[in-house]
Structures are given as C-alpha cells and as structure tokens.
Symmetry: D3
C-alpha cells in the first residue's frame, strides 16, 4: 500500500509512462511520508470508444482537448 | 464526478457502446440531478478467459446466456 | 456481468440511489440487449476530502457545482 | 456479490487462469459461507510498461521476481 | 502484484475476513506459482443501499440470499 | 481523464490529503502534458482489517511499517 490506479487514454510513449510512474510515486511518498518501495501503480489504458464524457463517446467528439 | 466504470465482455459494436454511454449517463444525470457534462464513463472490456462465475471461466461454460 | 461501479460524492437520499440503480440498469440492459438480472451495480461514496479536481480537494473549493 | 477483481501481469496460461478462478472462488465461498454461484471474478491483465513498483516501470527492472 | 480487490456486503466478522484474506491469497499463490508475500488484497465493503442486482437496491429486496 | 484512484490506509490528516492531491495531480499533468483541470482523483481509505499482505490482515501484524 498505497495502491495507485490511473485510467487514461491509450497512446502514451514508454518515456511518458516512465515519468508518470516516477513523478506520481514520488509525490505520494512525500505527501504520506512513506517509502516509495511501498507504493504500487497500475495504468489502465482505454481506447477512444471505451471512454465517454457527458454521454458522448470520445471517438465521436469533433473537438478533442488533450486528456 | 460521478465516475462510472462498466466491466463487460468484449465484442460490443461501436453503436452499442454509443447507446450504452448515452443511456447510462442520462439515467445517472436524471437520478442525481446533475449535469451530464459532469459525468465520465469508462468501459473495461474483458475476454472470456478473464471472467469467471461460480469459479468457472466463461470460456469453459457449455451454456452461455447473453451477458 | 456486466459489473457497474459508480464513484460519487456521499450524501444522496435512498430515493436517489433507488432511481440511480433502476435507471442505469435499464439503460445498460437496453443498450447491450441483456437481461437486467445479469447486471450488478455498486455505489462507492466518497467524502469531500477524498475527492480532488485539478489537484484541489473538493472540500477546499469555494464554488461547488452539483456533482 | 461478492465481486472479485485481480490485477496481474499479462502472460498466464488458460490453465493457470482456470485454477486461479476455481481456487479463489472456493476460498471466498468457504470463508464467507456463501454459494460459489454468487461470486463473479474478473482478471485485469497489464503489460510490464503499465505497472510500477517504487516508481520504476516493471519493464525497466533488471531483477524481476515472479509476480 | 497481483493486487486483489473484493467488493462485498458489510457485516463480516474479523474472523471471516481473516479466513478470506488467508484462503484467497493461498489460492492465488498456488495457481500463479508466486510467493504469497507478493500479493496484496483489499476488501471494499458496501451497505445494502449501495448495492443493486437487476436494478433493485439490495435493501429493497424481500428475499435476500446470503451474499 | 485521466482518472486517478488511490487506495490507502485510513487515518491521514486533511493536510496530507491536500498535499497528496496536489502533488500527484501536478506529476500526472507534467508527465502526460495535459491540463491539471482534466484530472480527477479519488482516495479510497480502508481500515486495517480490510487490508492484507501475504494473506495476513494488517491489523494482525506485529510489525507495521508505515504504509
């Protein structure tokens, strides 16, 4: 513990995932005063047709801000 | 918020996913009295060998009701 | 299956939860063409200090739209 | 109910998944005194670049104990 | 890893939770051929008005099989 | 999106939660190159008898490193 889970859109590079894991783990370790070794993190990546905001599938949106 | 997550068997068409996102978001918006724009929804799709009922993998079942 | 999970702010009435369960289950059943009896739904309710948007705890926000 | 979810590294054989579903469901049924038919179980499998311990992606580790 | 999550109705005794954690961890360890020390398990307990089957809140059911 | 979920032991102060939300959101925003306003984060807090490592409930452990 703690167990972190990040749901995000598919398509990130390995380098982005590397920085995401490192940065989020460091931040959690600092805030909670625990060793980074205690923290596990999983990324659940979804396709644009598996995600909806306001009832609209992301793949159907005309304007797609970076998320 | 709210954040909705639907775990379901893989294999739905884009049109089914479209109706699922729209219908579920509308229902949540109405029941809770909040704007649809506030609601995010994710579909986690699993294969038949990643799902079990009563200890039996779905892929090993002889009779498979629609789920 | 499907298994639905709704994460939302604590404080809803029993009647709102009743309508939420009924409406969301009906919508999922219609969209996916499966029996309602196949669908399970869980509500995970969180406090205002367990939720953050844009890095700010909900309890620290001055303006709180209904979510 | 209960709804069990197991997040694990991708790469297990169908036979391992079969034993996992059977064994975990039996154990839960015995401990809680409920019928196995009541229990659903889902496996969420992740790649080595979607998992991190101590802030390091699993794919970047030199030593990888079996997990 | 693996990370196990069990969503279940509130009300279990400490002894039941003890047996649940032990039995499920053993079964996962055996099936996947990994050390029990690698496995973390969390129980998310819900109230009867936070759970629905077939669109009906569990608290509203007349007949309630053990779950 | 992204949707972040942190499962952790109950008992943190409001200030720790404030720093956790802020730090983790900043780190995710930087790593993925997206606006912090896009990121939602939920903390699921569990009791010591709802968590197990290696099959042993945390409340039953004699030695309890900070987690």
């Amino acid at each position: 513990m703690p167990r972190i889970q990040i749901q995000m859109l598919k398509g990130r590079t390995a380098e982005q995932k590397r920085r995401l894991a490192k940065g989020v783990t460091e931040a959690a370790s600092e805030a909670l005063g625990i060793s980074q070794e205690r923290i596990s993190l999983i990324m659940l990546e979804v396709e644009e047709d598996q995600l909806a905001h306001g009832g609209l599938l992301w793949c159907d949106r005309e304007v797609k801000p970076p998320i």
